[in-house]
Symmetry: C2
Subunit: 334 residues, 2 copies
């Protein structure tokens, strides 16, 4: 295992220390609870937005905390759900009187722990909590850690869009409804060229031959749809986009918000090349790209590979997308 | 070779097509000359800033074109200098009457070709051109493709700072003097956990054993200072920061601008962990961090590894650093 780490047991806490050191102007990190907060306390009357999950997907979620996006992110160990105590601490902390929305990716541990935290926060502090579970991955119906579809790239777009809605003062019910809509409008599919290595495990999560790729991979290295021979980028793009388009109709006047996401070990030059392929397929299919993101946003440690997320847009979603955001991972307008 | 590409010969042009497709609001790409421009023509009276070099270092340079940074970036083939014709086309295009500054990393091909382009543009179009050659890498005195030190991470910081100066209307002479000062104030050192593979070569540039790292690596895989056994992050940080601190005194009231840069294949979780180590060493050495960047800014394809750049700051440099920037790779304040 070749990594820039010290003790494998300390990776998450040391990375959080790095985030705290790098962004003291914007973030405040509760190292005991492993929660990343916005520096300033929540504005009274603003809905609090929390997400979280296993670490190893950076910048998601801690790097997506800030104005116009999350209020707090709970960091679990690598590829391991945070515990209810962390989520409860965060929920109480970002309750500005308008309630708190939990944004949960559909993995059994995350779902269970966020549910428990919501109940505890309601019982202990009277905090009103609503939840949205993101399940946008079209690759497989059930998966290693999931009943139903896995939650992947749409989470990033949802956090941006609902973050903007909370910032402009929408109610908890409205934010929750919007989050449900975004999840319903978003679809993703990913692939891997290589495995990643969880620090505590010390060896690759799975093996792929030198001439083989895995299509439909999960963000923790969960098995996908199929292993196929290494193929040109244009064929890989088709393997990702076609199942997405088959699952939902993205044509429409407002077009789509598209994310070409890297898994952590794939460089930007390849992501731009892939984006070109993806954009051509979408264009041929009558899908207009209203907005896009190209880069590493929801990763799997150092896995080489990529995923495509397509979100059916409308004027409200595009407007919220364009609203200012100031996080370490995503920033514009401020 | 496992990459998300089609034909190795088409990697650069297809990535440029992807950039054009992803950023039509901000960039315009001359595919024939392989030059990335800001979408809008240069403002009359503004100094034009051009950089460029071999591809494979994304987001540098094409992803650093935009308001407050570069006006144009010339893309060579992977790890290969662009040719004078590209640079001359760009130079003429971004001459807004106030002259053009060439920002050149110190590699023999780049230096020679930018010099030739400057002479041609002066002769053919009467464009006034000045150049700054960046040579901030403390690792080695001469290198495979370099007489003198190599130009690496300081280039990114220089493009930001001088870009802001040009945006606020400073003259060509002032921008050139500022660029020279930034180069003089910046020092870098990098390391690799793995090699990268140039698409046209199809095999790794060099071999590193599973328990070995290369310290002082160049951004094209040029040999560094030494190969040593894989070490904990805190020791790796010391191997990078100590030679930097030994080369220049960074203590001072205005502190330093620090970049913790990934080589392309190293995920953000490791870069934040490394940043924490680097920040601790700098603090112990009496160097205050005024501003920082953590992420992939000057990469070597999919190489795993990192580099540290430290730039001695003053009020002018910090003010220019904070000025608005709107590029695909770096954005704030707009």
């Amino acid at each position: 295992m070749k990594k820039l780490i010290n003790d494998p047991a300390d990776v998450v806490i040391e990375a959080l220390r790095g985030m705290a050191a790098a962004h003291p102007d914007r973030l405040r990190v509760d190292l005991e609870n492993k929660v990343v907060y916005r520096k300033d306390p929540i504005r009274s009357g603003k809905v609090g937005l929390i997400s979280g999950g296993g670490s190893g997907h950076e910048p998601m979620h801690g790097g997506l905390v800030g104005l116009g996006m999350l209020d707090a992110a709970c960091a679990g160990e690598v590829f391991t759900s945070p515990v209810p105590d962390q989520m409860m601490a965060a929920t109480k902390e970002v309750d500005g009187g308008a309630g708190v929305l939990h944004i949960v990716k559909n993995y059994t541990g995350d779902v269970m722990n966020f549910e428990m935290a919501a109940e505890l926060a309601a019982a202990e502090a009277g905090t009103e909590v609503q939840s949205v579970v993101v399940d946008d991955d079209v690759a497989v119906q059930d998966s290693l850690y999931t009943a139903g579809r896995r939650g992947v790239g749409t989470t990033v777009l949802l956090e941006k869009i609902v973050g903007a809605a909370a910032e402009e003062g929408r109610s908890l019910a409205d934010c929750a409804a919007l989050a449900t809509k975004v999840n319903g409008n978003g679809r993703s599919m990913g692939m891997a060229l290589t495995s990643c290595t969880v620090p505590a495990a010390g060896k690759p999560t799975f093996e792929l031959a030198e001439d083989e790729i895995e299509v439909g991979i999960g963000i923790h290295g969960e098995p996908g749809r199929k292993r196929v021979p290494l193929a040109p980028a244009r064929e890989v793009a088709a393997m990702l986009v076609e199942p997405v388009l088959a699952d939902l109709d993205f044509t429409g006047d407002s077009g789509a918000i598209v994310m070409m996401n890297g898994m952590g070990g794939t460089p930007l030059i390849e992501l731009y090349l892939m984006y070109h392929e993806v954009a051509q397929i979408l264009e041929k299919s009558g899908v207009t790209i209203a907005r896009c993101l190209v880069g590493n946003y929801i990763t799997s440690l150092e896995m080489a590979g990529c995923s495509v997320t397509v979100l059916k847009a409308d004027d409200d979603l595009v407007g919220l997308w364009d609203a200012p955001v100031n996080t370490p991972g995503l920033r514009w307008g401020v």
